[in-house]
Amino acid sequence: MVHRAADYPGHWEHFSHMADVGIRGVGATVDEAFAQAAVALTAAITEPSKVRYDDSVQLDFASTDLETLLFEWLNALIYEMAVRKMLFGHFQVHIDDCHLQAQVWGERVNRFRHQPAVEVKGATYTELRVANDDGVWVAQCIIDV
């Protein structure tokens, strides 16, 4: 399933943290909640709709539980953004028993078009939560910027 910030009914949001930023993805499935959390990560840096889908990166890793998997997922994206000097706007995620496989699309940072506001240093364990609340999956944490 492909999740686009603009056209998918799941959603992302930011929640307040004094010094940093809280990111939250919400979806009907855990895959979708993770994908939306990734859009929220991009939205801390730039407007996600401004990111073109020129190149893609594959990610594949496992963890012991869903919360640690979210921490790993966000940090993997932060790492790929940092070493490739890219931003991502488009996320395909599949999670099977704490094993995540994803393809993410994006482009090189363009400071004029993206006007990136902050560089994300890392995802944190603060407010880290992955849960199914009444049939809706929520995936969230504070990111250090």
């Binding site: 790492y79 070493v83 006007q115 364990y125």
Partner: protein
């Protein structure tokens, strides 16, 4: 934060006695207004720190403390390895050795006035800044390890910086006992093309005017006079430090579990200082300190090149370089006994007082310069370490203004363009790749830095020496 939870032990000192699992009290420095403005989570986090094994004397929060992750930002805590003390990645933070250095220029306000736009533009062109920027320096594996061992001294040896700078830096520009082998290949890769980059967020390079002197004698020793122009650089260990912080958070969460440390918050992830995980982190963190020192030295070199082109009469000499996200092994006196302690300062500045053996001769009489960055468009301060602050805070002071508003609320309150225009009307030239970044860093989103340093001064943590105000601000 509700002050009724705390006992006021002196005008600027508030305490919470140990209760529950706390091993030591919490001590917060502030006046009633600053404490009332602090998030409840600052106290909550300082209490959590007070529960960690081997903590000594107290869990401190500086006057600029705010809600961090694990430790509060503005938190200071010392641990004794002989008493099962721990080292915590969350107690240092992601931007290891983030810090501030201030350089004299030998220029006066009038010298800069006609050149401030061209120098702002040239600094913005020459110093890589913002998300996605890369430096011109590329390090191979061997060079990377040399940098991680050699810090600012390595940068000077490469021709990026001046030997005289090293004396004017904590650790004389090199953090000993760094272990580059404990820095992962991913962390090194993340740093590969980020040497000499400023970063983003609250990092900046400012040209500032010394606008007020509070302590004439110390200012004289520091070489600061009203109307002088100085340059201040605020940045850290870039991607390498961020990656180390991320990786060891996970590593230490496992180590804490293995050593039976019951963490009240996963972000307090820590390991006994003498455990393999503790030693690995200390080695990697010290390498990251060297990365930050080298990075600030390279940016200093780039800044000198720009001044040489535009204002060739300028002489950029380092006043001092301080780091405010570290864990360092230091000697402190407790109940008449000298002990070696691992002092975590997360968003707190070391403030060695007069006569400290680690200070250069120039500062032996007055104590070290304590450089406090303000927010964009507001003042910054130079303080000096005080005698007697060992007993107050393990010789530590505040590090900046601290946010009073989230980034999200800031972008809803201000437009970047308006902030730039308002600052321009006050004679402050701002250069940044991101208008949204400017809005997020608007001066009004931060606490009043003057109030923070007043309290640091009156509480005896460090004394006010000079206030500096921005003329040019290059921001990531």
């Amino acid at each position: 934060m509700d002050v009724v939870d705390l006992t006021q032990s002196s005008e600027y000192t508030w305490q919470l006695a140990p209760r529950g699992r706390m091993r030591v009290p919490v001590i917060i420095y502030g006046n009633r207004d600053l404490i009332a403005d602090m998030d409840d989570k600052v106290l909550h986090q300082a209490i959590n720190v007070a529960t960690l094994p081997g903590i000594v004397t107290a869990s401190y929060a500086m006057p600029d403390a705010h809600w961090g992750y694990g430790f509060p930002i503005g938190g200071v805590a010392a641990f004794d390895a002989d008493q099962g003390g721990v080292v915590s990645a969350g107690g240092v933070g992601f931007d290891i050795s983030c810090g501030v250095r201030t350089l004299h220029t030998g220029l006066q306000v009038a010298d800069l006035e006609l050149k401030k736009f061209i120098i702002a533009d040239t600094l913005y062109e020459e110093i890589p800044v913002g998300v996605g920027s890369t430096g011109r320096i590329r390090l191979d594996d061997a060079q990377m390890d040399e940098m991680l061992t050699g810090g600012a001294k390595w940068a000077v040896e490469q021709g990026w910086g001046s030997p005289a700078d090293l004396e004017r830096s904590e650790e004389h520009g090199v953090m000993r006992d760094a272990l580059p082998d404990e820095v992962s290949a991913r962390a090194k890769k993340r740093q590969r093309n980020e040497m000499g980059t400023l970063g983003s967020g609250n990092h900046y390079l400012e040209i500032q005017e010394v606008s007020e002197i509070y302590d004439q004698h110390t200012a004289e020793v520091f070489g600061l006079h009203t109307g002088d122009i100085v340059v201040t650089i605020h940045c850290g260990s870039r991607g390498l430090g961020h990656q180390i912080g991320t990786e060891f958070l996970k590593d230490m969460a496992q180590a804490a579990h293995q050593h039976g440390i019951d963490l009240p918050d996963r972000e307090l992830a820590c390991a006994p200082i003498r455990s393999p995980a503790g030693k690995r982190y200390l080695g990697a963190m010290r390498a990251a300190i060297n990365c930050a020192l080298a990075n600030r030295e390279i940016i200093t070199h780039l800044t000198r090149q720009v001044f040489a082109k535009i204002l060739p009469q300028a002489r950029l000499e380092l006043l001092f370089d301080v780091s405010h996200n570290t864990c360092k092994l230091e000697q402190h006196e407790i109940d008449g006994e000298i002990r070696r302690l691992y002092v975590h300062r997360k968003g707190a500045t070391r403030a060695f007082g007069p006569g400290h053996p680690e200070l250069p001769d120039a500062f032996q009489e007055v104590g070290q310069p304590v450089l406090i960055g303000g927010s964009m468009g507001t003042a910054s301060h130079v303080l000096a370490g005080n005698s007697g602050n060992d007993a107050l805070s393990f010789e530590s002071a505040c590090h900046g203004a601290g946010r009073s508003m989230s980034r999200r609320r800031a972008t809803k309150t201000w437009r970047g363009r308006h902030v730039v225009d308002e600052l321009a009307a006050r004679g402050i030239v701002v250069r940044s790749p991101s208008m949204r970044g400017i809005a997020e860093e608007a001066p009004g989103a931060y606490k009043n830095v003057d109030a923070v340093v007043d309290v640091a001064d009156r509480a005896g943590l460090a004394r006010k020496v000079a206030r500096v105000t921005p003329v040019v601000c290059v921001k990531g």
